[in-house]
Structure formats: structure tokens, C-alpha cells
Symmetry: C3
Subunit: 121 residues, 3 copies
């Protein structure tokens, strides 16, 4: 998420598998290329508005599956800080990742984000 906050959207999208899925609420983006494109668009909008985003991950639990995959569940908090302005705690979410290992690196095969107050848990 530090990569995303720094505007390095391609590097961030590369933490997904090529066929990775990124689900937020009831919409989903399929494939790391489309995930990169969507992230770029949002990053450009925040940059144009002069707003720094900060994603905080915490309260992590990791559960190994039978198939060599991992399920990682965390809370994620999204902060927004406009140039010259106050910190806004924009969003509290729960993030559930299914992670697979290839070439010695863990990548996100499926990420599901539920936004507190918006999405059904």
C-alpha cells in the first residue's frame, strides 16, 4: 500500500497475480493490467486535487490453507490529507486477501475489501 500511496501504481498492481481480482463492495476489477489502469486513474485524480492518501494496514491475521495458499485478513484505514489541510480518516475497511506463492514471492490472487458503514460484512 506504500507503493499505492506513493503513486507507484504499476509496482503496486504487480503485487497481484496476472489474473488477480480486486473486489471492493459489489464491484470487481479483473487482471493486474486493469487493476493498474484503475489505480492510475484514481492516483491521478488525487494528485490533481493535491490530496495525499495514506493506507494503514493493521490487526493482521494469516491463515494457511490446505492448498498452499494463505488467507490474510486485516483492517485497513484510508487517510486523506489535502495540501495545507487537516487529516481526514476517510474510510475504515476490512481486507481479505488470498495469497499464492510463485517464484519465491507472495502475490494477491483475490482481494476483497468491505467498507465499514457502506458494504455488508
Amino acid at each position: 500500500m506504500q507503493l499505492l500511496d506513493a503513486g507507484s501504481t504499476d509496482e503496486w498492481a504487480a503485487t497481484f497475480t496476472e489474473d488477480g481480482v480486486f473486489e471492493v463492495g459489489d464491484s470487481a476489477v479483473h487482471g493486474s493490467q486493469d487493476i493498474a489502469r484503475a489505480a492510475r486513474k484514481v492516483a491521478d485524480e488525487f494528485a490533481a486535487a493535491g490530496v495525499q492518501r495514506r493506507h494503514w494496514i493493521g490487526m493482521l491475521t494469516v491463515t494457511p490453507g490446505d492448498d498452499g495458499e494463505l488467507t490474510a485478513r486485516s483492517y485497513a484505514l484510508v487517510l486523506e490529507i489535502p495540501t495545507g489541510g487537516e487529516v481526514v480518516v476517510r474510510r475504515s475497511t476490512v481486507c481479505t486477501d488470498r495469497l499464492v506463492s510463485s517464484d519465491g514471492q507472495w502475490r494477491v490472487k483475490h482481494r476483497r475489501v468491505t467498507r465499514d458503514g457502506l458494504d455488508p460484512a
Copy 2:
């Protein structure tokens, strides 16, 4: 705290010893059964009000005692997110736990929570 946030109050209370004490400010609940009951009541109130709570634990330090116990000190932040509403950072606290091990599991024998701005440190 994820259990508590999910409304699984019995499972959460089971992280205390049977004779565990939960102290907040100058009030205390004694015994995991009463802790469970009190947590259930609060959880039901938040559920009825349509408010999701999120407890964040951070800045953890763990100190072993001479007696095989551990003292765990952490900051804990309580967020509240009403359905359709904004994130509220409701409370900043310091949590001091005395943990004992039995049957290969650490449980809370004594938890003391001081609420910043309310309770003397």
C-alpha cells in the same frame, strides 16, 4: 479485538481467564462470564444503532515477569462507523494486560484500560 468487533462476544470473553478482571477507568468487571455478559449488552446496543466498531491495537511492548506471566502494553484506538456515515475516532486508550499461559494458550488475567482525556494515566 477482531472477535469483539465481529460481535463474537463469547469467543472474545474466552480470551480472559475464568477469574479475569477487565478494568476501564475506575470500574471493573470480574470473571469471564460477567465480562461476556457486559460485552454482549454493548455489542447489541451498537448493532441496534447500526454502528460498526473497530478496535486497533498498536505500539505493543511485551515484558516477561519473574512468575512466568507477561505484561503486554499497547495503545488501542476505538473507531465507530455508523451505517452510511463517516468514520469517528471515538477513543484513544492505553491497554495494560497481565497474561498467563495455561493449556498452551495465553489468556488475560487482568486488563486495565485508561482512556486518554478521561482517566488518569
Copy 3:
């Protein structure tokens, strides 16, 4: 940072090397003695105002250098809680530390803090 939040400014400043540098935005304090002095002044002001500060460190990455030093990068969030008042998320920052080891202890040789919305990243 727990030491700083507790008002133990000398103990906190001792986590810097004697010639350590603490840079925030475009101002810098040189030497752990001056860092201690500056911290004491700020801590006294907050105490006089009845405001509890809480520094949260998260999203830590640690990178070893060729020279035996470590670079630690983290997000740091500063909360302020006035007596009887609400939690204020005062500041979101990125903290970059260069750490050196001596006498079996890691100390900060150089800390650079950039404040989101105020300082150029």
C-alpha cells in the same frame, strides 16, 4: 515514541546517537542534548495545556545498508486528546530513520519526518 508520549523526553532523546539529527520539514535539531531540550519544551507545553499526545508508528519497512546501517521507513500518526475532549488526528507523517548499532543497541543517527499536506515528500 511511547517514551515521548509519557513525557520521558530524556529517555526518548537517548534513542538518538549523541550526534544524531532530527529533521522535521526544513528545520533540523542537531545532537541528542538539543533534541532532548526541544522535546522537553514541547512536552511541557502539551502538559500545561492538558493535552495527551499519542504517536502511532505503522507500515514499517527496514532496509539494510552496505555499511551495517539500517534504514527504517514508517508512517507515523500523531493524535492529540485534550482533557475531557475528543480525539484529534493532528498529523500524518512519513518517518525515515538511519539507524546505527553500538553497544548492542540500535540508535537513530538521522531522522527525517515529512508531514503530509505540509512538506514536500
